[in-house]
């Protein structure tokens, strides 16, 4: 949500233009009298989309956690962008004692891609020392996607998927931008949401998903988690603190440091002011709980018209004990597409189909109904792991498969 996903202009692929170009009589040339080195980079590899945490509706003893990263992949870009950066560590932090300090972690790393037709072999480090490897699912430019490669580690019972998927998020960014502008201008105008078109429709994203037996987390009764049934989840993208360039390539050296983090939908992108996003990304849930961003949250939400009561409600979810999704594993999750029963909805963890935007807006509007009118993903989710919908594939001209 509110993940404007840093819509970067990619300068990666060579192209031939299909537009008819009428050349003027005097050819229009760009002079090359100044340095114009390429301005591409693989910076987008750390751009997080969303984090999800929910119980497998087919088997509530399994916890599904997922992160999405590197969004707005056009179907035709699948092979160019549909792989994982070998210098990034993807990390889930798990909180089990009910405070802001993470208690366990799951790390996923990938070796460098050797070719577009060879899967990368992920290394998955589970809490308490178990490690296993699993291949990614390859992207393709064919009319139908490759079926998802799911690896189940016998020792731990953990199932793993990593690959390109349809972007599960659904939200109208221009509608929200205009609504926000109307509020800041002093005249809130909910009709800006009448536009109701999903800005993420038709695009793909990379995802890592795990199905984990709840027992693996070894939850224990603590004062913060008295029934030992709540798991906090946040995801991070990290790079090593130093990077060196040599003829043999680019190498990361030293400790990992966090470049982007994602827990509850919307906090970083919406509520934290742009000037402090860097600070937020580099901070930790402990900083959240110590109120490092309290002033910003109050200011931003206050400017949107949220009163103290509802600011408090949002703050209790988002930062009071750090920015984690908190999933109660004793609340049953049932239904298709990863679950749909209302009792199990966000802010109880987060399912793919939960309309977190409407939930957020409800509290922003002081518990009045305020909707963005984008109520579901453009394509249906799967009913079994990995639940995320298959990636959208290139189609004939005239049909961009956008169903928004």
């Amino acid at each position: 949500m509110f993940r404007f996903r840093k819509t970067i202009a990619p300068v990666a692929a060579v192209l031939t233009l299909t537009l008819a170009m009428a050349l003027a009589p005097a050819p229009q040339i760009k002079a090359s009298d100044h340095g114009d080195a390429p301005i591409n980079s693989n910076d987008q590899a750390i751009d997080q989309g969303d984090t999800y945490a929910f119980l497998d509706p087919n088997d509530n003893s399994k916890v599904i956690i997922a992160l999405t990263v590197r969004g707005f992949i056009v179907p035709g870009e699948a092979v160019n962008f549909g792989f994982f950066d070998s210098r990034v560590r993807y990390r889930f932090e798990i909180e089990t004692t009910g405070d802001a300090r993470p208690d366990q972690s799951i790390n996923i790393t990938f070796p460098e891609r050797t070719s577009p037709t060879t899967p990368q072999m992920a290394t998955v480090e589970l809490p308490f020392g178990q490690v296993f490897t699993a291949p990614t699912t390859l992207p393709t430019l064919a009319g139908t996607p490759n079926p998802p490669t799911i690896t189940t580690d016998a020792a731990s019972g953990v199932a793993f998927f990593a690959g390109e998927v349809d972007d599960p998020f659904f939200f109208d960014i221009p509608g929200f931008a205009r609504f926000r502008a109307s509020v800041l201008a002093g005249a809130p105008d909910p009709t800006q949401f009448n536009r109701g078109r999903d800005s993420f429709s038709g695009y793909n994203i990379l995802a890592i998903a795990l199905s984990i037996p709840a027992s693996l987390f070894r939850l224990q009764r603590t004062s913060g988690n008295p029934d030992a049934n709540v798991i906090g989840v946040q995801s991070l993208t990290q790079r090593r603190e130093e990077t060196i360039i040599t003829r043999a390539g680019i190498v990361g050296v030293g400790k990992f440091r966090t470049l982007d983090r994602s827990g509850n939908p919307g906090l970083n992108a919406l509520v934290i002011p742009f000037g402090r996003k860097d600070e937020y990304n580099f901070a930790t849930p402990l900083d959240d709980s110590r109120g490092q961003f309290a002033g910003d949250i109050v200011a931003t939400l206050g400017a949107l018209g949220t009163n103290a009561t509802n600011i408090g409600i949002l703050a209790s979810v988002y930062v009071a004990r750090g920015d984690y999704l908190r999933l109660n594993i004793s609340v049953p999750n049932t239904g298709t597409g990863g679950g749909s029963n209302p009792e199990a909805a966000f802010p109880n963890g987060r399912r793919l189909g939960d309309d977190i935007v409407d939930t957020f807006l409800f509290f922003v509007a002081n518990q009045n109904v305020l909707r963005d009118n984008v109520n579901s993903n453009d394509v249906p989710f799967r009913d079994t792991f990995p639940f995320l919908a298959p990636p959208q594939q290139p189609r004939a001209s005239g049909d961009d498969n956008t169903r928004n």
Binding site: A26, A31, N80, R195, I245, I250
Partner: protein, 442 residues
């Protein structure tokens, strides 16, 4: 020997020297280049995926004219196309896509459009705006390198070398090394006269870029071309030729490499082959610099009429160019000054350019134009400014030599002119001859 015979023999000897020295490049270029790069191989063009992507995005904006994400991505593809073809039609398309995107979502929430805008401004030579927009971009994308690359590029064109250098160091420390940063380092090193270091840095960049599983064709070709341009600057014509051919293996008919190949062949005295390459280059992209160079080579080959028509074309392109004078002030001023044409106009163009773009080459262009317009004192102070970074560029030394000559300082004039020719005996096919003649007259 009688005095008169001595004179004739002397003139003959000098003429012979001039002819022989046109091939000096071969002897001079012992290819002292130690920087090595992997052998060049063709890189596939990836045209299909790009084509389906463009179509997807264009269909998308037809269905949803407020799909700002699609506009941002289209801007990026148009900018890449601009890099490959040099056609400002793509610049216009990118500009329009970026503007359309910003009309939907404002820049504080729209990094993609902000990035496209800054890159369009760079390509349009609006360096101040590019810098300002890239700084705004860096504030909302501070965990990324690419905004700083744009800032550094703009600062270099504005002549703010210190700030550019310090940003490169800071970004490398905080965000890590990258091929993009290495190319800016190489550029700054060359500007500071550290040509060997520049070559080394670029060769590391090329090698590292090639380790990518999916290297981008134009980017690799650009790096190899840039390596060649730097070698040419150092007077190593053999290496320049080799790198330009490597670039063409990577990306056949890459127009920048064609131009460099022509330049290298001319420096080695092979005028007919040089003409052939420049003709190929201008057929691909009618670049004003290539056309002027082709005109010069026609002139050297005695093809006066063809030379004249190339020279006329330079003016036409510069004047009628869609983005107009902004992009061409410098080239046109240099062209006029080099050929002793329209001195006042050259001066006015160079002066206008230098108002906002105060890099050393802006000072150099204005110095050269000032000289030809008879403003010797102004030329003297400007050429001093142009030389302040210690750049080892034969053209700068040549201009300095001619300016000091006009100011009556023969000793300094001769020093600079000899320095120019020692560094690069055929830095320019026509101007090098003028430099030689000036030395013997001093």
């Amino acid at each position: 020997m009688k005095r008169r015979e001595k004179e004739i023999t002397g003139i003959f000897a000098i003429a012979l020297l001039a002819v022989v020295c046109n091939a000096c490049g071969v002897w001079n270029a012992s290819s002292k280049e130690t920087a090595t790069v992997p052998a060049a191989t063709p890189i596939p063009a990836d045209a299909d995926s790009a084509e389906t992507t463009i179509r997807f995005l264009e269909d998308k904006v037809k269905r949803d004219p407020e799909d700002f994400v699609a506009y941002n991505k289209l801007a990026g593809y148009y900018l890449q196309r601009l890099r490959e073809t040099g056609s400002t039609d793509y610049l216009d398309l990118a500009s329009r896509a970026a503007k359309a995107s910003l009309a939907i979502v404002p820049q504080d929430m729209n990094a993609g459009a902000l990035s496209a805008t800054a890159q369009v401004e760079l390509a349009s030579h609006d360096f101040r705006s590019a810098r300002d927009h890239a700084e705004a971009l860096a504030r909302i994308e501070s965990n990324k390198t690419y905004p700083y690359l744009i800032i550094v590029d703009a600062l270099i064109e504005l002549g703010d070398y210190d700030k550019a250098t310090s940003i490169v160091s800071k970004v490398e420390r905080s965000l890590g090394a990258s091929v993009g940063l290495e190319t800016r380092k190489a550029r700054l090193a060359a500007l500071k006269g550290q040509t060997d270091a520049s070559m080394e840095t670029l060769s590391v960049a090329v090698s590292a870029a090639l380790t990518d599983a999916n290297p981008q064709r134009e980017n690799v070709a650009w790096l190899r071309w840039q390596l060649g341009e730097t070698a040419f600057l150092a007077g190593d014509y053999q290496a320049a030729e080799r790198h330009s051919r490597d670039s063409l293996i990577t990306f056949p008919d890459y127009y920048r490499a064609l131009g460099l190949l022509g330049k290298s062949l001319a420096a080695r005295g092979d005028i007919p082959s040089a003409i052939e390459q420049y003709e190929r280059a201008v057929a691909k992209v009618p670049d004003a610099v290539f056309i002027a160079a082709l005109g010069d080579l026609y002139k050297l080959a005695g093809r006066e009429k063809e030379a004249a028509s190339q020279y006329a074309l330079v003016e036409q392109i510069a004047r009628l160019g869609k983005s107009g004078g902004a992009i061409y002030n410098r080239q046109l001023a240099l062209f006029y000054a080099d050929h002793d044409m329209k001195a006042d106009e050259a001066y006015a163009l160079a002066k206008k350019e230098y108002e906002t773009r105060r890099d050393i080459y802006g000072a150099d262009t204005l110095a050269w134009a000032a000289l030809k317009a008879g403003k010797i004192e102004e030329a003297q102070s400007l050429i001093k400014e142009a030389l302040k970074m210690g750049t080892r560029d034969a053209k700068l030394f040549y201009h300095a030599g001619m300016i000091h000559r006009a100011a009556g300082d023969s000793r300094t004039a001769k020093d600079y002119l000899e320095r120019a020719l020692r560094l690069s005996p055929v830095f320019d096919p026509l101007q090098a001859i003028i430099a030689r003649r000036a030395i013997e007259e001093l």
